[in-house]
Amino acid sequence: MGGAELGQIFVNAVLLSGILALVALGFSLVWGIMNIVNLAHGAFIVLGAYITFFLHELLGVDPFLSIPVAMLALFTLGWIVQRGLINQVIKAPLLATFLLTFGLELLIVNLINYFFKADLRSVTTPYSGTGFTLGPVRIPYIRLGALGVSLVLVAALAWFLKSSRTGRAIRATGMDIDAARLTGVKVATIYAATFAIGAGMAGAAGSLLSMIVPFDPTLGGAYTQRAFAICVLGGLGNVANVVIGAAIYAFVDVFVGARLPSLSRAVTFAILVLLLILRPQGIAGKSV
């Protein structure tokens, strides 16, 4: 492996880690606060991708400008799903929410497939495929933009959770639901907000992904698994952990992908399982 290839792999990993952080952040929030592994996260990502695609295709909206639309739409959907469905069984044993969100994933992905067909789609703009070179390393503008948007959203969410009144209520509910209720937090509303923010983040991630990779309705499943892996790597608890987890995952993924493309998923999962067994609290994080 030459220096140029190494440099390209390094840059690819950095560019990938931003979007993976965004993918994993909403997932981690819902898991950490509500103790729900949301298997429909991938379906939310796909919905975001389709919103961007159709806004660009039909109305000519620039894909970057459609991100807020996707976020708002998914935020609303997330709120409805949480209040209407998940909230009904949230205190039931784990298998219930696990399967419920899986059922949702199945349903959403199939409906997208039914209405929009399984064609492979991609959002192509005049600046797609353009970029600049830094020595031997090539950096596409879109990936750089995606990294920028991801970092802004991650930072915004970190600030929101740390400093805003709602954000503090969300964290308090995650720490101790009964104590939070005693201090006047409306738990059901906070749960709905948490889930909706998670879905909104997934929507933004989907928008960005639609510009970077060709996608079809099944795009999301792999990202749900990646989000899980990242949460395990980083540990739950705070935004920084997710970013660290995403960076580690991106580097492993890109390096393994460059050396052993056909076994990349097996290797990634083997690492994940090993890590789960050896260090279930995550590399960076506190105990979960």
């Binding site: 909230n87 205190k91 199939n110 409906l111 059901a188 279930p280």
Partner: protein, 317 residues
């Protein structure tokens, strides 16, 4: 009495229906077998195993490779070998994985299944990669039906015996409170390992029979997550942690599935999603609660309003 009548009907079935219909009934029995297996680890022991398709695949490949290859092992010994290998793999993998709890266990099993699928896909010298392997052809539908039926009946007896055994009670104790179970002197690692290995054996037998019946075995067909889901959903529809639940659930699932496949092929997953959501929200303990309550004296019959009881118990306001 009712049970004997049902058994007689099932035994006479190949004479009564067309060979195409018989295929559907065989599929129901295979699903019942998988669900029965999942019930040991997921139902009685309460561990959300999401990768049991791995053992389905191992069973299918072991049976297939032994039957072709240079040995030409007969079907039943090959099937037994597949079951044994699956049990060994389950114990080896289970030792580390069963220490994990909750979501972590679920995803670890899912990961193992994914990884095994890729191994089967890439190990060309043994499995012929994604091309797959071809077994000897046997076209007697009745043979597969009766084989599956025999194993399902064995499975019912095994589940019944398990639920009344020391190990069965130990597993239920682990499900309810693992730490308390350990303090009572239950060897939790051993019991969980046994339950997991049993579930692997059932999946492997189902896989072996399906492989022989389908003739062609590929990683894509025999390691797909759909099988894992079907066995879990069938168990939940029937009733988690009950003896007859998985079989009842498999029957209902197959009925719905066949009906839906026929009517709206393209929307099959959507309807499946609705079924999952309905059962999780309204009937999380399965149909056995509806049927079971009527029979036991002293308990009031199941009422429509009971559908909302789960919602009332588990929502957050």
């Amino acid at each position: 009495m009712g049970f004997l009548a049902l058994l007689a009907l099932l035994l006479a079935l190949p004479k009564l229906v067309s060979s195409y219909k018989l295929l559907t009934y065989t599929r129901f029995l295979i699903l019942a077998l998988m669900a029965q297996g999942w019930n040991f680890i997921g139902g009685y022991t309460g561990y959300a195993a999401f990768g049991n398709v791995a053992y389905f695949g191992i069973g299918a490949y072991t049976t297939g490779l032994l039957m072709i290859g240079k040995w030409h092992v007969p079907f039943f010994p090959a099937l037994a070998a597949g079951a044994l290998l699956s049990a060994c793999v389950a114990i080896l993998l289970g030792l580390p994985i069963l220490r994990l709890k909750g979501h972590y266990f679920a995803i670890a099993t899912l990961g193992v299944a994914e990884a095994l699928a890729q191994v089967a896909d890439n190990w060309d010298s043994l499995t012929d990669g994604s091309t797959g392997i071809d077994l000897p052809i046997k076209s007697e539908g009745e043979f597969f039906y009766y084989t599956a039926l025999g194993f399902v009946i064995l499975g019912l007896l095994a589940t019944w015996a398990f639920a009344r055994s020391k190990i069965g009670y130990g597993c239920v104790a682990i499900r309810e409170d693992q730490d308390a179970a350990r303090m009572l002197g239950i060897n939790t690692t051993l019991y969980k390992g046994i339950a997991y290995a049993i579930s692997a054996v059932f999946a492997a037998i189902a896989g072996g029979i399906t492989a022989y019946q389908n003739v062609h075995v590929t990683p894509g067909d025999f390691f797909k997550i759909d099988y894992t889901l079907q066995m879990i959903i069938a168990t939940i529809i029937g009733g988690v942690g009950s003896v007859a639940g998985p079989v009842l659930g498999a029957a209902v699932y197959q009925l719905l599935s066949t009906y839906i496949w026929g009517r709206f092929i393209e929307l099959h997953p959507t309807v499946l999603g609705f079924i999952i959501i309905f059962f999780i929200v309204f009937l999380p303990r399965g149909l056995m609660t509806v049927i079971g309550r009527r029979r036991k004296s002293g308990e009031r019959p199941f009422k429509a309003s009971d559908l909302l009881a789960n919602v009332r118990a588990h929502r957050v306001t």
